[in-house]
Amino acid sequence: MAERSSGAVLVYFDSFAAAWAMAGHGPFVWSAYGLTFITLAYLIFTPLRRSRMTMLSIRAELKRGAPNGRHTSSQSVANGAGAQREDVHAP
């Protein structure tokens, strides 16, 4: 990156050290970008991981030949969960 600031490539800084220091503002700028990067990476990977876990557990159930429930909507699942909970509280 050095010596290019006057040349064709319009990188503003003359060296990596200068880009890191940013004339004293480096800690602020780089920490802001770093925090943003971590947050965005977390946002992307959380749902991917969750989907993968669900996929793996469905695959495992299929392999075990678990009852291939022919429920067709989320309604039945939600109601099923609710019903189970009520069963627990029933005398």
Binding site: A23, H25, L35, P47, H71
Partner: protein
């Protein structure tokens, strides 16, 4: 148009369509993010008054812009959920709220980091900052409400009402810099007339705003897919898909 909206409400159709969408949108989002960040960090010239600290603008403004746009999406999904009782709208609300909260958080934190060298303070109770903090609490409130109910329909209803009531905050955020003239400068980019920002800074900023929009869309769709998978794990269509893949 209406048949497309109708199809969006169908979980199997949405799942397949969003799979195709992600295949295109994810690389686009990541590429624009990298281009925007590198452009803003290394190629854009420094501000003549603030020096290099202003480079935070390239994430601060896009995060704030998309956090606000995300709230429109949340409120619209809330409306669709309340009025038309669309299940997919509940899923969308649930997917949008944490992303909006994260973007608002990014806007506030990068603003604080930018404020220190520029204003001399990490935090001031400026009208815009305070209204953005309220936006963060609204998003977090929706996230918490979804967790608070066992009954999904009741949770969605409460969240829809909260998100619609919260829209009152949106014009306050927009107008805060004009109504209470304080540390935050008024908007520099205008749709009509000359923008008060040089092209060498405007273009990387626009690239970053596009990048954040694309990322927002990607993460919301990924969240919706994850949510659909876990609520429909007993459904035949999902089991068929998983079995075949």
């Amino acid at each position: 148009m209406w048949s497309f909206i109708h199809k969006l409400g169908s979980p199997p159709w949405f799942y397949r369509f969003s799979g195709q969408l992600i295949r295109w949108l994810l690389p686009i989002a990541i590429t624009t993010c990298c281009v925007g960040a590198i452009w803003g960090l290394l190629f854009a010239p420094p501000d003549f008054r603030q020096g290099n600290s202003y480079r935070i603008i390239f994430i601060h403004v896009p995060a704030a812009v998309v956090a606000l746009a995300g709230y429109y999406a949340l409120a619209f999904a809330g409306l669709a959920s309340l009025v038309w009782k669309i299940k997919m709208a509940d899923t969308a609300m649930r997917a949008i709220a944490p992303v909006g909260a994260a973007l608002t958080f990014i806007a506030l934190v990068t603003g604080a980091i930018w404020g220190k060298p520029t204003w001399g303070a990490w935090w001031v109770w400026d009208a815009r900052i305070t209204s953005m903090l309220i936006l963060l609490f609204l998003y977090l409130g929706v996230v918490a409400l979804f967790e608070a109910y066992d009954n999904k329909a009741a949770a969605a209803k409460a969240c829809a009402v909260l998100s619609l009531v919260g829209t009152v905050n949106i014009p306050i955020i927009y107008k805060s810099v004009d109504w209470w003239y304080s540390l935050h400068q008024p908007a520099s980019i205008k749709f009509t007339g000359e923008s008060a920002i040089d092209a060498s800074m405007l273009y990387p900023l626009l690239v970053n705003i596009a990048a954040f929009y694309a990322l927002f869309a990607v993460v919301v769709v990924l969240n919706m897919r994850a949510e659909l998978m876990s609520t429909h794990r007993r459904s035949a269509w999902l089991r068929d898909l998983v079995g075949r893949s």
